[in-house]
């Protein structure tokens, strides 16, 4: 799956530029960052409602190419800009995490 596939799904919005071809190897959902850090695999997209610099730091450290903020969480512009600088794609959606996962599995092959 690529980021490009996500932005063609209704209700998913790509917030960063130049990331259409970033590939994603799977998805991981989590809001407790210790659990995210211990369990997420390199290349996974992270679905979360926590939008702060720590999420970005973890994504950067763990080689997470894409963060999908669910449940209508909209990160600050500064955070989006920082993500862009670090080559991390940011996607937002109004779906809650469970629905977002369902939509993803319906629409793309992961």
């Amino acid at each position: 799956m690529r980021v490009n596939d996500l932005q063609h799904i209704e209700g998913f919005y790509l917030q960063t530029k130049y990331h259409e071809n970033t590939s994603i190897t799977g998805i991981f959902c989590g809001d407790l960052l210790s659990l995210v850090m211990a369990n997420i695999k390199e290349g996974n997209a992270l679905l979360t409602v926590i939008s702060n610099y720590n999420v970005l730091a973890i994504a950067h450290l763990m080689k997470i190419p894409c963060i999908i903020f669910t449940t209508g969480v909209l990160p600050k512009p500064e955070l989006i800009q920082k993500a862009e600088e670090e080559d991390i794609a940011i996607v937002t959606t109004n779906y809650d995490t469970a629905t977002a996962v369902k939509r993803l599995y319906e629409k793309v092959s992961i």
């Binding site: 960052l33 210790s34 850090m37 610099y53 720590n54 973890i58 763990m62």
Partner: protein, 142 residues
């Protein structure tokens, strides 16, 4: 042989924004030395959790890391208030974190447990005057 390295960092209380800085520095250094990525991952997890612990729980502190060809030693020292019950704190899910920490996505009670899992050697000393955590990661090249 890569040169031995020693670096010190200050970690401020409640400074969530800069948490991860030491981990990021260490990651770069380990990758430069061509260390096995699974070991780099363990080093990062242990370091990030320890940084967050200082940010969340302490009145502030510091980190020193020492690196040579065989091992990475990360020492975190803070000014208190100390860990009341270390064996409880190591258990999954045991948390004394503040609401503030939880809002930042931390405080799951996994920190010390993750550090223990990631470290090859972990030493903890704690009193109301402060906590000293020494994490050793044994290194192997790819």
């Amino acid at each position: 042989m890569s040169p031995k390295l020693k670096k010190d960092f200050v970690i401020s209380r409640r400074d969530f924004q800069n948490a991860g800085y030491v981990s990021s520095t260490i990651k770069k250094e380990l990758m430069k030395r061509n260390i096995d990525s699974r070991i780099v991952r363990r080093a990062i997890i242990a370091c990030f959790e320890a940084e967050i612990n200082v940010v969340i729980h302490s009145y502030g502190g510091m980190c020193r890391y020492q690196l040579d060809d065989e091992k990475l030693i990360m020492t975190f020292a803070d000014y208190g208030p100390g860990i009341e019950d270390i064996s409880m704190a190591k258990q999954k899910g045991y948390s004394t974190a503040s609401k503030d920490a939880i809002e930042h996505g931390f405080g799951a009670g996994m920190g010390l447990h993750n550090i223990e899992e990631a470290a090859d050697i972990l030493e903890i000393q704690s009193s109301p005057n402060g906590t000293m955590l020494q994490i050793t990661i044994l290194l192997r090249m790819k």
